[in-house]
Symmetry: C2
Subunit: 252 residues, 2 copies
Amino acid sequence: MNDFLPSQAGDLITAAVLVIGDEILSGRTKDKNIGYIAEYLTAIGIDLREVRVVPDIEEEIIAALDALRHKFTYVFTTGGIGPTHDDITADCVAKAFGVQLVEDPRAMSLLLERIKPEDMNEARRRMARIPVGGELVLNSVSKAPGFMIGNVIVMAGVPAVMQAMLEDVAPKLRTGVRMSSANIDATGFKEGDYAAGLGAIQKRHPGIVIGSYPSLTADGVFRNQIVVRARDLEAIEAAAAEVRAMLASLKV
Amino acid sequence: MNDFLPSQAGDLITAAVLVIGDEILSGRTKDKNIGYIAEYLTAIGIDLREVRVVPDIEEEIIAALDALRHKFTYVFTTGGIGPTHDDITADCVAKAFGVQLVEDPRAMSLLLERIKPEDMNEARRRMARIPVGGELVLNSVSKAPGFMIGNVIVMAGVPAVMQAMLEDVAPKLRTGVRMSSANIDATGFKEGDYAAGLGAIQKRHPGIVIGSYPSLTADGVFRNQIVVRARDLEAIEAAAAEVRAMLASLKV
């Protein structure tokens, strides 16, 4: 399947998440998958670079798939793989890859572990359709599998099921050097006070990424966190030490 | 500013959300704005059609802005408008529109409501920079304003601040006929049992959108909800009645 993988410089492995579902865009369902996948991929050495949420509309799904799969090492989709008429993700992925979508005997056996043969019907059979060339992604929660074709990994939208699928597919993925980070609590300091010093440190360390993240407590106080990110732990520590020293100098 | 608005068929007002921030993609911060904005826009008659999350990288932000602002009535951005070096949203929006980013006296007055004159510095002044032609979006929580230029609305990433800005800008936006919905609890039924019947109802009502949304309870039981969406309440009720009758027929 590596024929589909875009070439990568060095060990940099990138990914996008494509959330498919009208229910997220209407606000009816609050997505819980983006944050979970982001944290999971970061932990295994895959850089999440982009997320898109699109409605259950074939042209929109295919356009997003094509934009993302040619740009990143992997694309993870969530949603749209159930038995109802609004579940069109597998159809769209097959069309994007220009392959047939066919009933897969392995997928059918998995479905039959949960569904009684007398309950099998046309709608449920839809869940056994896999694009030709795809590999199954197992689902320990409710059996109906996802799949991986080329660099696209197709997963369920229900968080517990998606998480089980991610667990199954992750060991098969290429991973790079993990992006590590140091977190420096800057609560009590104001962003506007340390912004110049922080910007100067970022300039001296172009190879690392320094971010400043304010959040607001329930009583209206800003709690600022400074995060230093890189793949090299020594580089992180050097920059973090400068950040701490810079903050300490502001206390005078 | 209507010069910037793409022409729309009828009363259909659409939007995209562009979340700007490395911290969302790394998983460090879990986004809370997408779901809030989705629900808010649906309630006021604006259809959210796409969401993207991109990193703090100028080319990525501008590319996403340009893709979205030419496709939808409005684009709402969140994140990247603070005083630190990683806050580059205003710069990117100005570049996308091909206009200068200049210190705005009204924005500066607002900042000075919260910042003592002796604490004003170059970093804080950055928050008063507004692209030429932009209108301020007020922030009742922490004063530093967002802005609207053309069809792009630039808001903070901190949820409480973003929510205050949305409250300020919403009355100025064009809105369409609100998309309404009926929710039919299908818990106790299996999706695979009602999928065929539901698909047939969808076919008979091409003007409405019918979705089936499974979720999983803590004890592993699927709770299915069927949602019927349209702008016409009578059309919703007609389809919802058919869905209820179809479910009842399965009970036999």
